[in-house]
Symmetry: C2
Subunit: 567 residues, 2 copies
């Protein structure tokens, strides 16, 4: 009981020194690595940079207490930051106090929804974000984020949360670019791309051991931060050349915040909060599952909802922003050797320490450096080969993906997700509304039956064995009637029709009505209706109706039993 609701008791009692060493080292590495990231994502959401630090402290500590993944690191992430910015810009002006307040309301709403979904065991809800929709959404978001960073990389101001809005504010001011900002941004970008692609290999060829080479490569952004900060400070580029820098970050831990706002604000933010919760949960849980599987651990999706919900509530009460398990911060944590959630807690304490004492060191950090960091990490989300693969595999999955991408780019994030999910569901319903069915015959010398059009099989003339390849429900009930009537009309010698129900997982009230009608109409034509291979749960349900008494034929356990009867 205790262990189920407070997963920390699964590992804390067995904690020992070797684990402590590993976790402390991982915590230190994560602290250093995620500070630039956290600042950058807060800026991406249109919030003051320090909010990203605040959102990396208490939320992570609460997740440590309540989450089930051993290595997940929780904090601001790129997609959620983008969604947060899009949601907030419709209710307040970026930079205003209302905007910051609204971010807190969004965190609280999202936290409450996640907690409620966890309490109601509604984790399955996230399954309706199909793979093509998520993949399309990530690709489109990657493009949106990359474009949104262009302005910061060039020293031009831009705003908006659709592609068109961004480009419309960016392009007319292209000539006002700041050459120093562009040099810092472009240089960092180039450095990071080269580090990613060639860093590890080059270091190893210089004789550096593999783990160290890996670590140095991953620390690329930290080097970039240090070097560009020093350069900007030394030549005083912020004052002399107007290079945008992070500036003064208030030091000290965040004060407790109680963002009540007015009712209309809460109401406006409900839909965005729901989407942020779902997307955040999907991102977090799929990564958590992947990493847990690598170490043969398990995570509990419903408990994850509780953990992430608590983290977001904490963000809302400590001047933060919506958070979730982040891809890059988690991978850093995992690769740095984190063994238990304690590593996350150590990183949170490390960031708290920085916030209390060292924010002054970040004054001269150029915004362009952060923009380059975001751009490089976000471009891994853009997965264009997946478009081609999906096109090849299934046109309707491709349609869902393409619509998600287009709507996200053109109409915005909410429209993209909602449109993609709606289309996925509609296409699924359409497919199941016109089910495949096949006349089958016996594979010679076996008890196995296959489609007469695909295999060389034996048939009998007075009986039709019709395999229905779909659950029978309202959307296809009438289609079933048509199929059977057309079959009987085209073969006047028929005396028996056997519906093979091996693929029928459900017969709802509408389909029962249709089966009743088929049975009655076939009776008028002196054709008997039989069923075979009806599954247990379906049979249980049919017994609750009068259909089995009215049925003119029999219910055979196997199709082979029906075959023996009629041949």
């Amino acid at each position: 009981m205790f262990k189920r609701y407070l997963p920390i008791f699964n590992w804390l009692p067995h904690y020992h020194q070797r684990l402590l060493g590993a976790d402390l080292l991982a915590g230190l590495i994560v602290t250093v690595m995620v500070i630039p990231q956290s600042l950058a994502y807060a800026l991406l959401a249109g919030l003051p940079a320090v909010v990203g630090l605040y959102a990396s402290i208490l939320p992570q500590l609460l997740y440590t207490l309540l989450g089930t993944s051993r290595t997940l690191a929780v904090g601001p992430v790129a997609i959620i930051a983008l969604m947060t910015g899009a949601a907030l810009s419709s209710v307040a002006a970026p930079g205003s106090a209302e905007y910051v307040q609204a971010a807190l309301v969004l965190s609280l709403l999202s936290g409450a929804m996640l907690m409620a979904m966890g309490a109601l065991k509604m984790g399955f809800f996230s399954n309706f974000l199909s793979h093509p929709v998520i993949s399309g959404f990530l690709t489109a978001s990657g493009i949106l984020i990359a474009v949104s960073q262009l302005g910061s990389l060039l020293g031009i101001s831009s705003s908006g949360f659709t592609l068109v809005e961004r480009l419309m504010t960016l392009l007319p001011n292209l000539s006002t670019y700041n050459p120093f900002t562009m040099a810092i941004g472009g240089g960092t970008l180039l450095f990071l791309v080269l580090m990613r692609r060639y860093g590890k290999r080059s270091l190893m060829s210089l004789g550096v051991p593999v783990t160290l080479a890996d670590l140095i490569t991953k620390a690329g952004p930290v080097f970039a931060v240090i070097v560009t900060t020093l350069v900007t400070w030394y030549w005083q580029l912020a004052y002399r050349e107007d290079v945008a820098v992070v500036g003064t970050i208030p030091s000290g831990l965040p004060a407790l915040s109680f963002p009540w706002g007015d009712v209309s604000l809460w109401r406006t933010l409900i839909i965005p909060a729901m989407l942020i919760s779902l997307v955040g949960f999907v991102e977090s849980v799929s990564m958590g599952q992947m990493l847990a599987a690598k170490r043969r651990q398990r995570i509990s999706p419903n408990q994850e909802l509780i953990g992430l919900g608590a983290a977001n509530l904490a963000a809302g009460f400590t001047s933060g922003m919506p958070v979730t398990g982040g891809l890059s911060r988690t991978v850093i944590n995992y690769d740095a050797g984190a063994q238990t959630p304690a590593a996350g807690a150590f990183a949170a304490l490390g960031i708290a320490l920085v916030t209390m004492a060292f924010t002054g060191w970040l004054y001269y950090l150029p915004i362009a450096t952060l923009a380059a960091t975001i751009t490089v990490s976000i471009l891994t989300l853009v997965d264009l080969p997946m478009l081609r693969q999906t096109w090849r595999y299934s046109r309707s999955d491709f349609a869902a993906m393409a619509v998600t991408i287009l709507l996200t780019l053109v109409e915005g994030i909410e429209a993209g997700i909602i449109g993609g999910v709606t289309l996925s569901i509609a296409l699924f319903l359409y497919r199941t509304s016109r089910p495949h069915s096949a006349l089958v015959g016996r594979v010679p010398d076996t008890e196995h039956f296959r489609n007469v059009e695909r295999h060389d099989v034996e048939t009998v003339s007075n009986a039709a064995l019709l395999r229905i390849d779909e659950s029978l429900y309202f959307a296809n009930a009438r289609y079933l009637e048509d199929t059977v009537y057309n079959l009987v009309a085209s073969r006047p010698e028929l005396e028996h029709v056997v519906l093979i129900c091996s693929a029928v997982n459900l017969i709802d009230a509408s389909a029962l009505e249709s089966l009743d009608a088929i049975n009655a109409r076939l009776k008028d034509s002196d054709v008997k209706l039989h069923l075979s291979e009806v599954k247990g749960p379906v049979m249980d349900q049919l017994k609750k109706s009068d259909f089995l008494e009215a049925l003119t034929g029999r219910v055979f356990l196997s199709t082979y039993a029906a075959w023996r009867e009629f041949s």
Copy 2:
């Protein structure tokens, strides 16, 4: 080609004298019978009574030309009239010229939508109105209509289109009832109920032949109309006692109408027109199919859309109201012996004749008589036993039905249908998102495999045969992963997992991703993944991906083949 788009050429060339006699008689009977009905339904929609006559002329003639049912009679029907009234009362005041104009716009919109659906072969769209939703909707509408007629039966004015609105306007004025109106209404109601229940049997016991007895019973409303009209005229109740009567009906055929209105009116009426089209189509086509089946004829749903669409366009251009194939008028036509659509055309001409020359005879017809006619015929829609049956068969179908009834009564017709359909779809998706699966074993001495928990079957220890009872798609992809991982975790001795795909009708891109993940993770645990009984269409699709190359195990044609391999 010709015959397909103008179904009239299927029967007109073979027309002969015997058919003509039968059709003429049926046409005459229908003319007499449907006049009170048509007036009543126009009043129910809040329109002038004569509109009901207009809507029974040209629409029926066009359906004769374009429809595929031989006996369907087209005109105003109760449900559609109720829906029309609800839609119109939100855009204009009943009795105003705008109200009548809006009815024409609604007919045109509905006609255009039906035609478009027919041209695009979208008849399947109506399948999403599941049986419980339709049945619940009819029951709730029956109750609404009966309550709406209470005012007319008692001589009290009432208005509104939800139960609460009706009762709120009715109850406070209950004391203002008109005793003469009440006597006429109540008397007619009693007479009609008795005729329905005992009429045919009593007449037969008096020696009247069965067909004549049936006809006389059905003509009950006509007798009531004649008697109450004469009574009201003789004692001049309309003037002396304020009994509401039909009054002056303009004589002559309807003038052509071109209801353009403004854009906002058209836009407001789009959703109601869509629902009216769908409900009208479902009512019409299900009755048409039932009657066609009785005479071993076929109807074409897509051509029916064209026919009904043309009928509604005609109604819009000739001062009518939305129409569809009506239950009671069709049954009258069928029972009166109609052989071809010509009977409907004769009835339309008969009504045209009455409209031209005999509307004066209807002056003293009391509204209460019409209300009693509607009430009796509508109460057949209320099917309370169906509620109990559905509850017994399936809780989720019952939920859809109950929600449809409640929403229709409380929130109105649109909310009822939309809510019911949405809930049906959501429940179906929920059910398929947590699919049933079963470990199966071999039924001894056969090649047949059944659930180990339900049947006495043979198993092998190192291989698990897992039958998945659902198509694999985004909503259940992760659930499948959980199922397999839990299975493998609980049986460490496993070396082979066979997924039996006999019930898998679809593997979408999300599920393919999950299968890939399962395959990879089982490989890490030295467990091989096999498939069996993969259906043709599913196999074709898998071949378009890389999954089959990556699969650690084999694809068996039958589960028995897999069994032989591992036992």
